[in-house]
């Protein structure tokens, strides 16, 4: 047993706080938009130049001039603002965004993140990921704990080219949650996914980590 994609997104949604400005990456992080707790006000930023992202448009009402960073058609809200890519990354790089939730290929115990290229395969580019991890106040990575072949994706050192060095604050996998001290304090297991034992997560993790499970 382990967490599903939806359960991982739900766990990531627990990192939201009222009044937060948040940037969500593609994949599981996108699901978090549907899991904002009732009564909590969270403003979603899209790095292509929009603050205050609304839901997908109704059928027949899509506007080609209104897309998110994943190039999906979306809608605006009464509080929405639009701006250039330079202003957008001033928000991101300048530390004005509270939280970034994004996917990963590998995370190291020092909080390094690799999520943009695999050598020898076609490189599509990093998009805004390097800016997000370098500038957003708190960075949460959501990814599967292991590759399909079984290798741990939470490693002592990333073997893939880095997106950022010492940038990850929290790692949520299908097996559990790790807090990471980006200033060199290492990783700590703080939660186990439902039905996952400490032995299982120890066996399946290459990274070294402390344990601080509550309850």
């Amino acid at each position: 047993m382990a967490w599903t994609r939806e359960q991982m997104a739900l766990r990531a949604a627990q990192e939201l706080q009222d009044g937060f400005y948040v940037n969500l990456g593609i994949g599981i992080p996108t699901l978090v938009a549907n899991m904002i707790p009732q009564g909590m006000s969270v403003t979603l930023q899209s790095e292509n130049g929009m603050l205050g992202m609304g839901p997908f448009p109704f059928e027949g009402e899509a506007d080609a001039d209104l897309i998110n960073a994943g190039k999906q058609t979306i809608t605006e809200l009464p509080q929405t603002s639009y701006f250039s890519s330079a202003d957008s990354f001033a928000m991101i790089r300048g530390g004005h965004i509270d939280l970034s939730i994004l996917g990963g290929m590998q995370v190291s115990e020092q909080g390094d993140l690799a999520n943009w290229m695999v050598p020898g395969k076609m490189v599509k580019g990093m998009g805004g990921a390097m800016d997000l991890v370098a500038g957003v106040r708190r960075v949460v990575v959501v990814m599967d704990h292991c590759e399909k072949a079984g290798d741990s994706k939470f490693k002592r050192q990333c073997s893939l080219p880095l997106t950022g060095k010492g940038v990850v604050d929290l790692l949520i996998t299908d097996l559990g949650v790790f807090r990471i001290d980006r200033k060199g304090g290492g990783a700590t297991l703080i939660e186990l996914a439902s039905g996952v034992t400490l032995d299982e997560i120890k066996t399946k993790t290459e990274a070294r980590f402390g344990i601080s499970l509550s309850g």
Partner: protein, 241 residues
Amino acid sequence: MKSKIYPDAAAALAGLTFDGMTVMVGGFGLCGIPEHFIAALRDSATKNLTVIGNNVGCDGHGMWQVLANNQIRKVLASYVGENKILETRYMNGEIEIEFNPQGTLAERIRAGGAGIPAFYTRTGYGTAVAEGKETRQFNGEWYVMETGLVADLSIVKAWKADSEGNLVYRKTARNFNPMIATAGKVTVAEVEMMVPVGELDPDQIHTPGIFVDRIVVGQNYTKHIERLTTRPKQATFGGAN
């Protein structure tokens, strides 16, 4: 003053294109791309272009047409997915791609247009992006030096213009266009509508006319949508992002 208004994109590009030139192109994906100037650039058959923009179109659309016409030698972009020809040529070593983090690319263009030769950013520190670049510590944090970018020609797309070249963009079609408009030795803009001088609110102009040399009103915009995503009418909330 000589009019900035040209009858069509081909007329506006006349005398501005040459082999080996650097061209900056506005847009994010296919949103806010200068469709008519891209077609005119393709028809100009100019070769060995260095193209600067967030993307290089996608299969069948946008700057892909210029790529498919074998006109591009080098690309500076942040993301080049959904583009089979580019993938094949890159893997075969037939085209050079310099990947830039999206915010670094936006700021390099902004800096170039503002006369700033270089700046420092935290983005990319400790990654392949920083290799060969000067790094420096400020207030205990490490930063990477990135250089400003300028182009021989900038092509942008706006929503409205007046004959002075003042531009207003629409929604997320703004993206890279405002910075690109500032960074070309020559900047040409295509718009969906031209309004009389005085109609645009001076407080709401996104790109002041000083940055725009030539203007064209484009007809019959395709505005292809890459990922049409909708929700059924009865749903209360179908999800954001």
